[in-house]
């Protein structure tokens, strides 16, 4: 126990909070698994064996990490600027549609031209979509928490309309674009699996985000604006500019996530491209303490949880929705961790009171 405390003490406070939140969520999850009559050890073993214990499992976990990490990085940058952008889901769809449209229109171009064009158009589309909320906030003071979440629905329906209409594969019955040619696909890194080059994009994006936040004046301004807008204003910083950067960076990265799903996984733009990556990424950004490398680590953890969940269900008989509960618990413990010292104090006071009571009666 003592050594455990020593380890925790050496970690930065933020990381300790995240690790504690995850451990606590797993403990409560174990209790819930036991409640359905399954050994938590068996269930968790099945979960992590499926997610990490084979080449295919690990590849799938990394594939799932890509959209979660890219959206999470974008949301983290927005959070750093004090922008509560929860519109990554819609920005991902818009980005995916742009990438799909360019990929189909540019069929025949060499990969080295086509892929960057698709990625760039996806980032511009995502940033533009996020930019709507930015304008609404900066011009009309509309709360981005409301506008970004509403724009998600608009985006998903708009993309659905495009896929049923102008972008639809003329030779197919389903609402999706034509299949991308091999030049419009991200290369597979590990034969026989779906692991694609998107994971490298994640690493590059995380490094760039880190350098931006901690090595560039612009990044410094972004952080100051996020911490205290009034102080930033008094220091003569351009607050509106920092807020705008927060919005656009989030949109661009979420759009890039859409691109990587289209070019790396689905090989065309489809309806229901994302099962809520943009929403899960909000938790990922929080769990990663809005630090770029933390976000990537958190994305990997959540990806493993989601990939392992299906197998846990069929192998151990634990409903896969339980991992959704664990994900929710992580947030709860993360937000509620400030309450732990308070509870500790309250318990200590209660103990003192009881001790005094004991002395009196004695």
């Amino acid at each position: 126990m003592g050594s455990m405390n020593a380890i925790l003490a050496r970690l930065p406070a933020g990381l300790a909070g995240s690790v504690a939140a995850v451990l606590a969520a797993f403990l409560v999850g174990a209790a819930l698994i036991a409640a359905v009559g399954v050994s938590p050890v068996t269930a968790y073993a099945a979960l992590f064996e499926a997610a990490l214990g084979s080449a295919n499992g690990l590849a799938e976990t990394l594939v799932r990490t890509v959209p979660l990490a890219l959206c999470g990085l974008g949301i983290a940058l927005a959070f750093r600027a004090g922008v509560f952008n929860v519109g990554a889901e819609g920005q991902l769809f818009v980005g995916g549609a742009a990438a799909g449209a360019i990929g189909v229109a540019g069929a025949g171009l060499p990969s080295i031209v086509l892929l960057p064009a698709m990625a760039l158009s996806a980032m511009i589309a995502g940033a533009a979509w996020s930019g709507i909320a930015a304008v609404l906030k900066l011009r009309f003071r509309a709360d981005e928490l409301i506008t970004t979440i509403m724009l998600n629905y608009v985006a998903i329906h708009l993309v659905s309309f495009l896929l049923h209409g102008p972008l639809k594969d003329p030779n197919g019955a389903l609402a999706q674009t034509a299949r991308l040619t091999s030049d419009g696909r991200l290369p597979v890194l590990l034969g026989g699996t779906r692991l694609h080059a998107g994971i490298l994009i994640v690493l590059v994006a995380a490094i760039l985000a880190h350098l931006f936040l901690w090595r560039r004046t612009e990044g410094f301004r972004l952080r100051v604006v996020g911490l205290n807008q009034r102080a930033a204003l008094n220091a003569g910083m351009n607050v509106r500019r920092a807020v705008l950067i927060g919005f656009l960076a989030c949109g661009a990265l979420a759009g890039l996530a859409g691109f990587s799903e289209v070019a790396g996984v689905q090989r065309r733009m489809i309806e229901n491209l994302s099962p809520g990556y943009g929403y899960t990424a909000i938790i990922v950004a929080l769990l990663g303490q809005t630090s770029p490398f933390g976000v990537v680590a958190a994305a990997f953890l959540f990806a493993a949880l989601q990939i392992g969940a299906t197998t846990m269900e069929s192998a151990a008989g634990v409903p896969s929705t339980l991992t959704t509960v664990i994900q929710g618990l992580v947030v709860l413990f993360l937000i509620g961790r400030d309450a732990i010292p308070l509870i500790g104090d309250a318990l200590a006071r209660l103990g003192d009171a009881l001790a005094r009571l004991g002395r009196k009666s004695a």
Binding site: A55, G57, H164, L189, L190, G191, L200, S274
Partner: protein
């Protein structure tokens, strides 16, 4: 650059199970069969048919089976891969929209047999099975037109996929055979599972005069109950969903097909082709009328029964038309 990275990754990934103390995929001593379904297995419709077929084969052959329900198109490939990598020798992708995913996975798992429902493109280890319920739809069209007082009948389906188009065209052809000037309304709701939308579309058809509805999706029967018109169920006997309005249902029993495919995989005689089990094979039938046949002219019932026998014996072949409609 990619080559080097690939090599490094391959080594790392190969070493990982050893480090983690993972176990190798257990060699199965018997065939394991999995099915991946797009919706809930309790839908009394397409997904129930798949699930029931799988369980029937499990019972018949004593093989191990597993299934995943409510799988989205975006996630289908991952789930198919998961089963293939866990040693399942036969995997059913039970949706028209999983064709792409099955094609991709089949390429990477040449020793696993895949069966994709109504797929367009096949591979040496990827076969398909059609949904010949269009044969039953012809009978439904005859019955519907014969039972209609307005000479107008409706049809509500999901997406204009080939099997749905075949169903619609056969329904129309059947209706025209029975009542040459019958009017057939149709709506594609653009989704495989959207009960409120299906209900809305069906109510709109009733308001245009339809008094018999073909329910090619969940929600139509609710509309038939609300508007008190006849509905023709699909896939399973759906009478319990509307005992007073569901005249009969065109049922599809996938059990014989799943069993035959599994057997063929077991004795290595399986071939990549289109497996079709319809009325002649005893897989597509009309369900019991549950007493509602009293509301249908007897000569109509007689004609439908005669047509069923003709299809079964091969004397009549229901035209297969998958051309697009407006």
């Amino acid at each position: 650059m990619f080559e080097r990275l690939k090599k490094g990754l391959r080594i790392a990934v190969a070493a990982l199970p050893l480090v983690a103390g993972g176990v190798a995929v257990a060699e199965a001593d018997g065939l394991k069969v999995a099915m991946v379904l797009p919706g809930p297995i309790s839908d009394n419709d397409w997904n129930s048919v798949g699930y029931n077929g799988l369980q029937a084969a499990a019972k018949e052959l004593g093989i191990e089976v597993a299934y995943s329900e409510n799988v989205s198109d975006a996630d289908a490939e991952r789930i198919l891969r998961d089963y293939a990598s866990r040693g399942y020798g036969l995997v059913f992708a039970h949706s028209f929209s999983f064709g792409d995913a099955a094609l991709n996975v089949a390429e990477d798992f040449p020793d696993t047999v895949f069966m994709a429902g109504t797929a367009k493109e096949l591979a040496p280890n990827l076969g398909t099975y059609s949904n010949p319920d269009y044969q039953g739809a012809y009978l439904a069209g005859m019955l519907g037109a014969g039972a209609s007082k307005t000479k107008t009948i409706g049809w509500v389906g999901g997406m204009p996929a080939p099997n749905m188009l075949a169903n619609l065209h056969a329904y129309e052809a059947g209706a025209k055979e029975m009542v040459p000037d019958a009017k057939v309304l149709h709506t594609f709701i653009g989704s495989w599972f959207d009960p409120p939308k299906a209900k809305e579309a069906a109510i709109a058809q009733v308001e245009q005069g339809a008094d018999v509805l073909s329910a090619q999706g969940v929600g139509v029967i609710d509309a038939a109950i609300a508007k008190n018109v006849f509905a023709l169920g699909a896939m399973t006997d759906q009478n319990h969903l509307g005992p007073k309005v569901v005249l009969t249902s065109v049922t599809w029993d996938l059990g014989p097909l799943v069993t035959a495919v599994a057997k063929a995989v077991q004795d290595k005689s399986w071939k990549s082709e289109n497996w079709s089990y319809g009325i002649p094979e005893g897989s597509v039938k009309l369900a019991d009328f549950h007493g509602l046949d009293a509301g249908v002219p007897p000569e109509v019932l007689k004609a439908v029964q005669a047509k069923f026998e003709a299809i079964k014996s091969g004397a009549f072949t229901v035209p297969l038309d998958t051309s697009n409609v407006e």
